[in-house]
């Protein structure tokens, strides 16, 4: 039998099995979630959560779907945070330092408190990727921020009002579009298809009787 633990959802006490996550524990307690629940597997950032263990001082942050309950956990979810995304035309900008200055000038107000990094449930070095953005090193900013799921905990802890996930997003798009070299083989293949170079080949396969296609499939060579 699974041991029960006491948790406090928005301050109200519930007794729940200790092997549940915060999300499934809230449901076990009777919540029908609409907010604060998305992919349930750590990819979408819908379930940012703040908690404190009874009797302890430290405030912790996590994803409700990826964190097991503990006895004495005081839980508040952060289902929405007013993140500040600036809009731009990706075709009209370029990977110059000025872009970040224009769109997200508040990154230069970073006071270096590192609260963003401490709060990140993905253990990203958030303050570091903001530093990369400040100096216009978008490639490094993109790579450092890559595993960001956009939960917004960093932004909620920031005294400078930075919307970190949006800074990372801009850097990644700049990097993917303008900094990393384009795939030459991809460009060539798109052209070949547009020129109709594969039309005959695919018609040949599609036009075969089903038993011949099966034969072809079952005996096809597989690249090592």
């Amino acid at each position: 039998m699974q041991e029960m633990v006491n948790i406090y959802v928005y301050g109200k006490k519930y007794s729940v099995p200790g092997d549940l996550t915060i999300m499934t524990a809230m449901e076990y307690a009777g919540y029908q979630l609409k907010r604060g629940c998305g992919c349930r597997h750590g990819f979408c950032g819908a379930c940012a959560t703040i908690y404190r263990i009874k009797g302890k001082n430290e405030l912790k942050t996590c994803l409700a779907c990826q964190t097991q309950v503990e006895d004495g956990m005081y839980i508040a979810s952060l289902p929405f945070y007013p993140i500040d995304k600036r809009t731009y035309d990706i075709e009209e900008i370029s990977a110059e330092q000025r872009v970040m200055m224009d769109l997200y000038p508040e990154i230069y107000s970073c006071v270096g408190c590192n609260a963003c990094t401490k709060g990140c449930p993905q253990d990203l070095n958030v303050m570091q990727y903001i530093a990369y953005a400040q100096r216009g090193d978008f490639k490094k900013c993109a790579e450092e921020s890559f595993d960001c799921i956009g939960c917004g905990i960093c932004a909620s802890r920031c005294p400078a009002g930075i919307s970190h996930p949006m800074v990372g997003e801009l850097a990644r798009r700049l990097n993917g579009k303008y900094i990393v070299p384009k795939a030459e083989h991809l460009k060539n293949r798109v052209e070949e298809i547009h020129e109709g170079k594969f039309d005959d080949l695919i018609e040949q396969v599609m036009g075969k009787p089903i038993d011949e296609i099966q034969e072809l499939y079952n005996n096809r060579e597989i690249e090592k």
Binding site: G30, R35, G38, A46, F146, D147, K177, H185, R189, Q214
Partner: protein, 536 residues
């Protein structure tokens, strides 16, 4: 019986056979062996778990029980007085669903100059696209061709795919990747920009493109950013609960419901794209699922009630490797990329019981067989039996640091519970992953029965046949999403709407009554009901 000691004992056996296994690639099954395995162990091939539809376009056909009940239930708005003259949104193109397909469709419709809006019951990006980990296929390397891609997918899907749809999928794949690259998606590349590609189960060429193991997340957040940049209206927490038709019988919009206040709204549109995704949260056959919270087949219900037939609604994909341990992540996806990188499937005695890159239906059936009483080669866990996925092989094969670099999400997910997959194998068992079937469309993305109604993404049936290869769904949401957006925008120019009505809702209620069906439920379901339960 499950004990930690037994589990540790089994890990020792996996370690003991590792060197010998790494030197010998397991053989692939023959076509006959696969057929026999599927017939005996794959849930699709069993009678239980299905019912026969008594009404509607697919009357007399098999359907998963839970979906069948929803299809044969009445509308949520039957008997509700909705004023269709009070139009809240009036657009050219209405996109229902804000995942990969819906967002791609909206971007292309906007690009084509249409007045387009998206409605979604949760947030933009709350979708299975966001959770796709392993990658996206496209035949863009020199040793590959769209014809080879076609052959792999057609065979993997048991030769049941609609040829005209599969042709589009493979022929437009490189252009889809190029479109994403131009939007700024960060694919895994070498220093010269060449794509790093691997195998997936059932591929004959290495054509799996990835973005670490956040492939879907990277694509989805880029699409989301683009939708917002373009100023396309996205109405969140707003479910489409019914399609609206006009007096000519063509689709004319949808009734929306605010998920929080319950308020109804009317969206009028010249063309409507259903891009509502999958059904994992219906937990067919009581399986756990890798799907997002809103995967409840809503679009299938809406389309079916309006008269659009389903195709291959009786074929479901169980992803071979759902997490089986610990309990907190039971059913969560363990990406196929783990096997693409070399990890083997191993039983309780340390034997590699199959080639790790068979197609998904074959792999799932093989794992189920291994854990069945017939073989009794599964590892006992608190949730039932499972097999090992020998992850330490990855760093041994490709060098230290590969796991952290190529599959960081997997590493993070297991480390959260103290399991270091670099050093010890992980436990897996099939999880409900994908609906192979869905609404039937023609080559232009439209349904054949309801004028001006399009479908894109996982809600479509027929692109993949009766099983889907890894990396072809992430691809289909982009290819068919884009095409649907373009087609819907073009078509909207020629549409003149008549007077709107919800007559089909009442007509459906009468048909149910005549057939003597009363499920006591209403549909679409919108969200799973987990309140007050300990659920999967």
């Amino acid at each position: 019986m499950y004990t930690l000691a037994n589990m540790q004992e089994s890990i020792k056996k996996v370690e003991a056979t590792r060197a010998q296994r790494m030197a010998n690639e397991p053989r692939r099954m023959t076509a006959d062996e696969k057929d026999a395995l599927l017939a005996a162990y794959h849930p699709d091939y069993k009678e239980e778990g299905f019912i026969t539809l008594k009404v509607g376009p697919n009357k007399g056909e098999k359907v998963p029980t839970e979906l069948g009940y929803l299809l044969e239930s009445n509308s949520r708005i039957l008997g509700v007085d909705i004023d269709l003259d009070k139009v809240d949104y009036d657009v050219d193109v209405l996109v229902i669903g804000a995942g990969g397909a819906g967002s791609s469709a909206a971007i292309e419709a906007h690009e084509a100059g249409a007045n387009v809006m998206i409605t979604t019951k949760l947030r933009i990006g709350d979708a299975n696209t966001m959770m796709a980990e392993g990658g996206i296929q496209a035949a863009d390397k020199e040793n590959d061709s769209p014809a080879q891609h076609y052959l792999d997918a057609f065979g993997g899907g048991h030769f049941a795919a609609r040829p005209e749809l599969l042709r589009k999928l493979v022929m437009e794949a490189p252009d889809a990747i190029s479109w994403l690259e131009n939007l700024g998606v960060m694919f895994d590349k070498d220093e010269n920009g060449r794509m790093v590609t691997t195998h997936g189960g059932g591929t004959s060429r290495k054509r799996m493109h990835a973005c670490r193991d956040y492939s879907g997340a990277e694509i989805m957040r880029t699409l989301r950013d683009e939708v917002i940049n373009r100023g396309i209206p996205v109405v969140e927490f707003s479910s489409a609960v019914e399609l609206i038709k006009d007096d000519k019988g063509q689709v004319a919009g949808a009734v929306l419901q605010n998920m929080e206040t319950g308020e109804y709204q009317v969206a009028k549109a010249k063309t409507v794209i259903i891009a509502t995704g999958g059904a994992g949260r219906l937990h067919y056959n009581n399986f756990p699922t890798s799907n997002h919270y809103g995967a409840t087949a809503d679009g299938l219900i809406l389309g079916y009630r309006a008269g659009a037939p389903l195709l291959y609604q009786d074929t479901i994909q169980y992803h071979p490797t759902g997490a089986a341990y610990p309990a907190q992540i039971f059913g969560a996806l363990v990406t196929e990329k783990v096997r693409s990188l070399g990890a083997m499937l191993v039983n309780v005695d340390g034997e590699a019981f199959m080639h790790p890159l068979e197609t998904r239906d074959v792999s799932a059936a093989s794992i189920i067989r291994e854990c069945s009483d017939d073989r009794n080669e599964g590892v006992e866990t608190p949730q039932g039996k499972a097999v090992w996925l020998d992850t330490p092989m990855i760093d041994l094969l490709h060098g230290e640091g590969t796991i952290e670099k190529r599959i960081p999400a997997m590493f993070r997910m297991f480390m959260q519970y103290g399991i270091d997959m670099r050093k010890e194998p992980i436990l897996v068992y099939p999880t409900l992953h994908y609906q192979n079937g869905g609404l039937e469309i023609n080559g232009e993305g439209f349904t054949n029965t309801v004028n001006n109604l399009l479908v894109a993404g996982e809600a479509v049936g027929g692109i993949h046949g009766r099983n889907r290869l890894m990396g072809n769904s992430l691809l289909d949401v982009i290819v068919f999403g884009r095409d649907a957006g373009k087609a819907a925008a073009a078509k909207a120019k020629d549409v003149t709407l008549g007077k709107m009505n919800l007559d089909h809702v009442e007509k459906y209620a009468e048909i149910l009554k005549e057939a003597g069906i009363d499920t006591g439920m209403v549909s679409p379901q919108l969200l799973p009901n987990y309140a007050g339960k300990r659920h999967l």
